[in-house]
């Protein structure tokens, strides 16, 4: 005589399934728990450390965006406003003028503007800039290094793994917090020293 209050046994298959379900759920909770400990509410974005950059030119060709999300930016504070600008003019230019034959930039993305004798202002037209770093190399070797490359976050897709970072020979790409997404030369260096 069976006791009617005795619970109906769960079929074996369902018992196994529930067991596995519980195990998998536990695994997921484990992964989640571990990752949450290491998780950050605010995301990270890619940025170039301008002091590590060697101006190899891969930023122009390796980015998934065409043209690249890496652009040349100008830290005006560091600029010497030179007439003979190593970033703007080709080596041994025919003249210090805005003529195309004298320009180093392949897309004429740098605008040279007369301020007062003998100073000129250089502004990057980011619509034209392809991030080839030719001007950066010129400015860094002959000038103050005020021109440098930065990932522009209005264009950057923030890929899981930056296609340029994978091939950057100088390992200049780093992940930075999204609320401080730029490493502009000048102000940023001090902060690093403080930290």
């Amino acid at each position: 005589m069976k006791d009617p209050t005795e619970p109906i046994p769960i079929p074996r298959r369902r018992f196994l399934r529930n067991g596995m379900q519980l195990t998998l759920a536990g695994t997921l909770v484990g992964i989640a728990g571990f990752s949450v400990l290491k998780s950050k509410a605010n995301g990270m974005v890619w940025q170039i450390d301008p002091f590590k950059c060697v101006q190899c030119g891969r930023c122009a060709t390796e980015c998934v965006m065409m043209p690249s999300a890496v652009k040349c930016v100008h830290a005006y504070n560091l600029c010497g406003y030179c007439d003979l600008c190593g970033g703007y003019l080709k080596p041994d230019p025919n003249a210090r003028s805005t003529a195309a034959e004298n320009q180093l930039c392949p897309t004429a993305a740098i605008q040279r503007k007369y301020i007062e004798d003998p100073f000129y202002e250089y502004v990057i037209d980011e619509k034209l800039c392809i991030g080839c770093a030719k001007c950066v190399a010129g400015c860094t070797s002959f000038g103050n290094g005020s021109l440098h490359l930065q990932v522009r976050h209005d264009r950057c897709k923030n890929c899981n793994q930056c296609a340029i970072a994978r091939l950057c020979p100088a390992e200049a790409f780093t992940r930075v917090p999204v609320d401080k997404p730029y490493l502009i030369k000048g102000g940023w260096k001090k902060e690093i020293k403080k930290g």
């Binding site: 759920a25 995301g43 190899c56 930016v73 301020i115 997404p181 730029y182």
Partner: protein
């Protein structure tokens, strides 16, 4: 007198200090910033911001909403139309608007990286994108594949003439996702590459921009997809492996018929993915099946061993994906590249002043990681093959036409074929 001397000393110290600090500035700034007489105002360096952080959480909310609505359509409304339109939405939002990034498939790599790299903090959104579809799969089956995956959606729209592949081809091709998952994990764990993102065949369509070979790959997948339904999902997707594991033990997976199956066989050819299991009655001798199972069970460790050994032997070609190993290998095999000004990697390495010995030591360390990883990857593949063989010899009686819970993508096509409506 003594006081005065001290003053002089202090003065000179100050002078030297200020001179040296001036020199330091000079070193950084060859041409000091001019002082303008004409009242020129210097423009500011612009810093355009990244996408608004709250929008990232919007992605998460939309993923949750899409999963919930898909579940409702599949399990309660039993509506293929609904699933179709929700996948159109996913293709538009996660595909074309978000341009394929953020995606649950790629988030596997973020989770693995969070485990192996102590400096990496996984973004909360990536973690949620990894977990949510798996949680849904654990209860309701692969809802994500049906409604929320843009890669699945784009392939789903080109299934015009699905043909059924022979079962043995499906079994063999079905091993590729495991290998892909293992390789992706290996390359992330050794910090070499994010394979899944780099070889995402459809991201080029989402962005209208991709390298030529990836466009070719994407077009090929879609062309094959006309005949072999959703080839990437079934035979490549590494996330599908995890979803399959979860879905297999799901408690409320979709069923073809809402009530009792009447064995009408109308649904038999409705699944383009070959994910419907036919009813089978036990045939042949039970004894031979049991014997085969015992044999497979006994050789199971052998599979793992052979796999692991083969995997460890792959360390050299696999590790060349890593840039450090690649560079070290290049310098050893072709020492003349050291003087090649056109080789950017070597030129940069030489100019940074790091010693070749240090590079070699790093490369050797990374290759050792690949050796261990090769054992693990090969062992994992042996495990997969061994357990698959064992499963093939396990007999399960089936009375009705049922979706194969591991492989069913919950697309809801078969439901409309079923004449039982209540």
């Amino acid at each position: 007198m003594k006081n005065r001397l001290l003053k002089y000393l202090l003065f000179f110290a100050l002078l030297i200090f200020s001179a040296s600090s001036l020199l330091a500035i000079e070193a950084q700034q060859r041409f000091p910033k001019p002082e303008f007489a004409t009242g020129y105002t210097q423009p500011n360096t612009t810093t355009p911001l990244a996408r608004f952080q709250l929008l990232e959480y919007l992605d998460v909310i939309i993923l949750l909403a899409v999963l919930l609505v898909s579940t409702w359509f599949i399990l309660y409304k039993r509506s293929r139309q609904g699933v179709f339109w929700i996948s159109v939405f996913s293709l538009l939002y996660f595909g074309l608007y978000r341009e394929g990034c953020i995606c649950a498939i790629g988030s596997i790599q973020n989770v693995i990286l969070a485990f192996v790299d102590p400096t990496y903090a996984i973004p909360a959104t990536a973690l949620i994108f990894f977990l949510l579809p798996l949680i849904f799969a654990l209860f309701f089956g692969r809802i994500f594949c049906a409604g929320a995956c843009p890669l699945g959606a784009i392939q789903d729209f080109v299934i015009f003439q699905p043909i059924e592949l022979p079962k043995w081809i499906q079994q063999i091709l079905g091993l590729i996702p495991f290998l892909y998952l293992g390789l992706a994990a290996l390359f992330v764990a050794t910090k070499s590459d994010f394979l899944i993102c780099r070889y995402d065949p459809f991201v080029g369509f989402f962005r209208f921009d991709a390298p030529f070979h990836m466009v070719v790959l994407g077009v090929l997948f879609l062309l094959v997809g006309i005949f072999v339904a959703r080839p990437y999902c079934r035979f490549f997707c590494p996330y599908g492996v995890l979803l399959g594991w979860m879905s297999r033990f799901s408690s409320r997976h979709m069923t073809i018929t809402p009530a009792a199956c009447i064995q009408c066989k109308l649904c038999a050819n409705s699944c383009p993915f070959g994910a419907i299991d036919e009813p089978v009655a036990e045939t042949g001798k039970r004894r031979s099946n049991v014997n085969r199972f015992i044999i497979y069970f006994l050789v199971f460790p052998l599979w793992v061993g052979i796999g692991g050994f083969a995997g460890s032997k792959m360390q050299v070609p696999l590790s060349l994906i890593n840039r450090t190993v690649y560079l070290a290998d290049l310098i050893i095999k072709h020492p003349e590249v050291k003087n090649d000004p056109l080789n950017i990697d070597v030129r940069t390495f030489m100019s940074l002043g790091k010693s070749t010995e240090k590079l070699m030591a790093e490369a050797v360390a990374i290759r050792k990681q690949f050796y261990i990883g090769g054992w693990l990857l090969g062992g994992f593949m042996g495990l997969v093959i061994g357990s698959r063989l064992m499963r093939l010899s396990v007999f399960r009686r089936r009375d009705d036409w049922e979706p194969n819970k591991t492989n069913c993508l919950s697309c809801a096509r078969c439901m409309s074929y079923c004449p039982v409506k209540e």
